[in-house]
Symmetry: C2
Subunit: 234 residues, 2 copies
């Protein structure tokens, strides 16, 4: 199913513009009278009929609107940027696919890459959402420092997986049907000092299992462990 | 930790050749008398001392040998190749990281890409194993047809996730501490006929959860669901 995206909605009218309009009229050769489905990035699907096609826009009449089923938990991944931007882009795409709600890029002591390409990543979020039928876009927040992050955690539970044999497996210690933040460190892991500071703020040390994972993989696996525990406790 | 790889082991002597030798002597400027750790791709780590450096090889004396801890389950992912080779390469890398034991590329009815780049993928397996400390290499098998695959499954349990609202969540139906094969279909999913044939062979239909996943993501997520269930049942 091909899904379009627009936030330009007014009553029962909507407007595709830019790439979305070009994709609809020129690439897919849709015509007036054809039906298309679109999302608003805010949790809703719309079935609509094309009522006019102009050079740079397609006018739509909304036929039906429905909300996407919500998950029984919410998940924030606070993660260090990684040196290779393609790997961070991959992480963002897979985070959308696997149902992460919020990503917060975090600068840790051993982070080597201090920024992310926000507009490129927003494009990836839109494309991945359309492709995997997510009506609500994942929120990619502004870059924070580690201190700012641990002072602003708003979820019920928060975890800091790090390389340490003594921590318990994340899947064993989460409460189901809750809101979670998982902190994922840079290539060289969190410093002991960072782990200590996090623990003082009530963030729980955890293990992601026996596999040694790259930063971007750890972000996806942490999310999936939480997803699995919530699925089996439904 | 930097890990080398060689299978050229004879008693307490070993030999790095090719890229491994160049990486050791020229890139990292190791000298005679330095200690290095290597894997044999077969499950063992070795601590060794460099005893000679020649133009194209490094001679090693083994100091200590130890076996990597084994998982309490084994996992085969039988997966359709995907159109974009970079996505399949990504899948192979992440499969190594997350502890998949065997990959079988499978040609299904809707598969659009009939081959894989074996030698390139073997290189990725070696690099990912070294980086994530896997002493035993994941086995990448020869391409099979769907029929060959379902007639040759050797694990205790086998599952076929596909798009169908009525299937149960994979994490709810697996037995822990077992051997598993998970079949992952191509971009357009398995055909009804394929699902039927698989069920006749005792392969169990399953769901990977509410998220719609790309083929390569489904392969990793299926493995991780099985990993999580085995971890929490330890």
């Amino acid at each position: 199913m091909i899904i379009f995206y627009t936030e330009q909605i007014d009553g029962d009218k909507a407007l595709l513009t830019g790439d979305e309009a070009g994709h609809c009229s020129r690439v897919l050769r849709k015509r007036v009278g054809d039906n298309i489905t679109f999302i608003d990035g805010n949790g809703y699907f719309f079935e609509s009929e094309i009522t006019a096609i102009r050079k740079t826009e397609c006018e739509l009449e909304i036929i039906r609107k429905w909300e996407q089923d919500r998950k029984n938990y919410s998940l924030t991944i606070a993660i260090s940027p990684v040196k290779n931007p393609a790997r961070f882009e991959w992480f963002v795409e897979k985070a959308v696919e696997t149902g992460v709600d919020v990503i917060i890029p975090v600068i840790c002591e051993r982070t080597e890459k201090m920024s992310i390409k926000d507009s490129r990543l927003q494009g990836i979020i839109i494309a991945a959402s359309k492709q995997t039928l997510k009506a609500k876009f994942m929120s990619l927040q502004k870059v924070m420092t580690f201190k700012e992050l641990i002072n602003s955690i708003a979820t019920e539970q928060a975890f800091i997986p790090h390389l340490n044999d003594k921590t318990e497996y994340l899947g064993k210690i989460i409460k189901p049907h809750s809101s979670y933040t998982v902190l994922i460190g840079p290539e060289g892991d969190f410093t002991d000092q960072e782990v200590k500071m996090a623990i003082q703020k009530g963030i729980i040390p955890a293990s992601l299992g026996a596999n040694r994972l790259r930063t971007e993989t750890a972000g996806i696996i942490a999310g999936q462990i939480i997803g699995t525990i919530n699925e089996i406790n439904q």
